[in-house]
Every structure is written in C-alpha cells, then in structure tokens.
Amino acid sequence: MKICVCVKHVPDTAATIRLAGNNGFEDGEIKFVSNPYDEYGVEEAVSLVEKQGGEVVIITVGKAAAAATIRGAMAMGAHRAILVKTDSQFLDSSLTARALKAVMEQDGLPDMIFTGKGSVDTESFQTQYRLAKSLGLPIVNEVSKLVIDNGKAVAERETGGGEKQVIEMRLPCVIGATKGLNEPRYPKFPDIMKAKKKQIKEMDLSDLGIDVSQGRVMIEKLEIIPERSGAKMLTGSVDDQVTELVRILKEDEKVL
C-alpha cells in the first residue's frame, strides 16, 4: 500500500508574527512546525503501513526550510519525501493542489492520500478537496475515526453540535485528518537519526509547469489583530462582581 501524506510547514501557533511590508511577515526568526492536523495524517498513514506493509511518502509544497518539518514526519516513520519549493509561504490553494497532483502523477498514484483538515496559517480548508477532484477521488474532511477494510474506508466526521456522520467510500480516497483520529507518536532519538538519512527529492514549482502568477487569490494586506490589553478586573464580593458584570454586558456591551 502506498500512502501519500501532504504536510505543510507553518509558523508555530506560539510564535509572534511580525509583519514585513504590506502583505508579508518575517519568517527568518520564528519557529516553524508541521501543521498540527497533518501530524494526525502522518500517524494514521504510518500505522496503516506498519500493519499492512507498503510505504509512506510525504509531499510538501513550501519554502526550502520545510525540509526540517519533513524530517520530523520521517522520524515518525514516513519512508521518503518530495518537496516542491516555493518562494512564498502563501500560494493559492488551487496551485498547491495542482502541484500535489503533478507530483503524485510523476511518482505513481497512491492508494490513499492524507492531509490535515486545514492549515493553521492560511486557514483555507480547500486544497485537499481540489486535489481529490482533480484526481477523481472521493474525499472526506475532518475525519476523527477511520477504518480501512477490504478496499473500503469508513470515516467518521464531526459536524455541528457534536453530531457525527459515518461515511463510506472506496479506496483510493483522500482523508482530511483531525484530532481524535489517533495520538501522533513522539519520535525516539534513533528514529530521528534514521530520518536524517532518508531521501527528500526536491524540485521547484516551476519544474511542474506552475507559475505563481496564475494564482487567483492574492494577499493585499496583512494586519496584526491587536491583543486586548488590561482587562477590566471587577472588584468587591462575588455578588458585587457578578452584578456589575451583568450590568456591563447588558448596558455597555449590549451582548445580553
């Protein structure tokens, strides 16, 4: 069984974002990590291959520095990787999907594809759908439970209000992973060392015939959402504090 996992290299949620110019950010100093949702995909792929045999190939579209994130996925057990290099962190989802498709076609189509349910940097929630459509494959996103049996996948997906859908499809398919699917493993030291020797094939976006100017969604401006500063702390007895809070919420903020 060949499984491709699409992994994105994103700024750590704990990192402080500093803007550069009108629509960029300083990415030299801050810590980057694997998109957290993608790790559930890596774990699922690796444990499936551990049970059934096969290989796990990581595919990343991102800046050259994404190799560090790929090594992390390899330390979790992925066998090899392909990195499609871009100049910017921001690439139109349609183009990312085209790049992923082109790579998979070159490398040989997989039996399954995992992605995260979305990325925590651009929060676009669509690349996996475009990839699935372009390959003619079924897709289910936000999957928190998955059973693969006899060429069939049964996925559980959360919708609103805690409701769950159980969805069936045939393999090959695309699964967008989320929390609940598994507990991603922490790689041990020998695995980290072994990962250093695994192969990362690198190419440029332009090698796949994709030009960033074909993007249809452009960032015009980035602005920092200001942190709230200095909460109004209520004082007095519990009764006084709550009375004042309710008054504020009703009369000043008008949210009740």
Partner: protein
C-alpha cells in the same frame, strides 16, 4: 448590483441566524437564496424579509441527504443556471465542506471563514495565523465563493420580493461517498461555532459532571458550552466541545471562559469573539491579560451566582 447566491442553512424548520447574517453581508445585491430541497413554506417569509429577491429550491435526482457531492453538484449547477457572480455561505462544518466541493467542481477561487466581504471590490478579510493577523485578500475569479465566520455580521432585515423558483439540477451523483449514518450528539444542545454566546469550562471544572453547572447557566442565555484542551485531554469533555487549535474556532458576541488559563492555542480558537470574560481563581492566569473583563474567583462560587443573575 451583482447576482449573489446565498446558500441557506435551515435547522428545525427555521433559517439559521448565522445564515441571515450572510444575507446581510450581501445586502444591496440581487440575492438568490438557494435552498436544498423543495420545501420552503416554513422559511420563505423570513428569506424575503432578509433580502431574498429570489428563493431557489435546488433539487436533483438521487438521495441528496446522503451525498455531499450530489448537493455540491446541484448547487454548482444552480450557480451556472442563474449566472451567479458570487456565492456566499456560512463557515459551519457543513458549509465549509460543501463550499470546498463546489469550488473544486467549478474550479473557482474560494475563501473560507471570512469576517468581512466586499462584493463590489471582490475583497475579503479573514484570519490568518490562528487569529494573530487579519489578511485582506483580492479574489480574481469569474465567481467569488466565500464562507463567512458565524456571528461576524449581525442580521438586518431588508425586505425583497422573495419570488420562488424551482430548479431541478440535471446532475448525477458521482457515487463516491455515502453518508450511511448520522449520530446525534448526546450532551451539546447548540452548535458551538454558531452560538451567539459561548461558555467554556477549563481544567478547573475538575470533573465531567460539573459541566452541568455551565449548562444551566448556558441554557438561561442561549449559549453553547465549550471546553479547553486541558479539560478535553483530562477526559472531562468530548473533543467535539474543544475550543482552540485542534478544536473549534468560535467567534461569538460573548465568550465566557471559566477556569481557563488562556494558552495561545486557546486564543487561536476564540480571539475574534466580540467580548471576552474570564473567571479564574488564579489572579496571574495569562487569560486576564488578554480578555475584556475579569473576575478573580472560584468558578464553583461565581457561576451559580452568575446563573441566578442572568
């Protein structure tokens, strides 16, 4: 005036409040309210009141309820049939899924979870980097597809004709995926991501049964109850209740954090709330430096008083 479709979400025979906000975002344009299914009797007046020039019932042969792909095919066909220039919807779990499918079918750009949309300029504003920045995006497609973060826009009535049009899409279900079962939730009443008010219990809630205290409070003000990651990981609440990174993103008008320390990953899921209130025993809890109103106190003392006074 651009021909603008709004994908209508209906729950318990009523148009969802968050959908009315999406219609308001399209105010001033010719709104086509797209309803999946034939039956609009219960909702037609409301849709007309909130600006629908036309109400389109979208049907297709096959079982739409069990196939998100068929739903997407049918809506995509409606977009073409009525030559819609924009299609807006709610960034609910269903809305996000359906819009991504529609965008892939039409091969048109989509922006998810926006807080603002400017239809004339084809620009949108949305969170990037988990609530740390807002990005203004320019969309250059033939159609603008966009889902809006629930509660971003307050619904305002703007009566229009509400002419009903029946549209039977000539599409086939690709038959690749099938919803074989839908399991209703046991505990939660309201959808977290769409609720106007959210009350969240953190680690200090100490046990699963103590969420009853928050639920009692929530019930009085029409709020949904959430949980922090710490509370979910401790087994006090299911993952479906988790707010924050690896959980749900919420943006209610009022967010009340009870016994939540306020990690950056938690803020990633609720930072764009209008008003944030924190109740925590620890006066040095990080949440107090990033909220609007704070009460230092034991949640087991404060919440019952709050419930009583609301």
């Amino acid at each position: 005036m651009a021909r603008t479709g709004v994908l209508i979400e209906i729950e318990n025979n009523a148009v969802k409040e968050t959908t009315l906000g999406v219609m308001t975002a399209a105010a001033g344009h010719e709104i086509y309210a797209l309803v999946l299914g034939k039956d609009v009797m219960a909702v037609k007046d409301k849709l007309a009141e909130y600006g629908a020039a036309r109400i389109v019932t979208v049907t297709a042969s096959g079982d739409m309820a069990s196939s998100p792909d068929l739903q997407a095919q049918a809506v995509a066909a409606a977009v073409k049939e009525f030559k819609l220039e924009n299609l807006l919807g709610t960034a609910s779990a269903t809305g996000k899924d359906l819009f991504a499918r529609i965008a892939a079918i039409l091969d048109e750009p989509l922006v998810s979870d926006c807080v603002q949309v400017n239809i004339a300029d084809k620009t949108v504003k949305k969170s990037h980097f988990s609530g740390k920045t807002f990005a203004t995006l320019k969309v250059n497609g033939s159609i603008l597809l966009c889902t809006l973060r629930p509660n971003s826009i307050d619904p305002v009535a703007a009566p229009a004709a509400g002419e009903i049009i029946e549209f039977a899409a000539d599409v086939a279900d690709p038959g690749q995926i099938k919803i074989v079962e839908t399991r209703k939730a046991g505990t939660e009443k309201l959808d977290l991501t769409e609720a106007p008010i959210v009350i969240t219990g953190g680690r200090a809630i100490k046990a699963a049964e103590n969420y009853k205290m928050l639920e009692a409070c929530a019930q009085k003000i029409g709020a949904a109850v959430g949980a922090s990651r710490a509370a979910v990981d401790a087994g006090f609440a299911p993952h479906s209740m988790q707010v924050g990174q690896t959980g749900k993103t919420v943006s209610p008008k009022l967010y009340i954090a009870c016994g939540v320390s306020g990690a950056v990953q938690h803020f990633a899921g609720m930072k764009t709330s209008k008003v944030i209130v924190a109740i925590n025993e620890d006066k040095d809890a990080p949440i107090f430096s990033k909220c609007d109103y704070g009460i230092v106190g034991d949640i087991f003392e404060v919440i019952p008083v709050l419930t009583e006074k609301l």
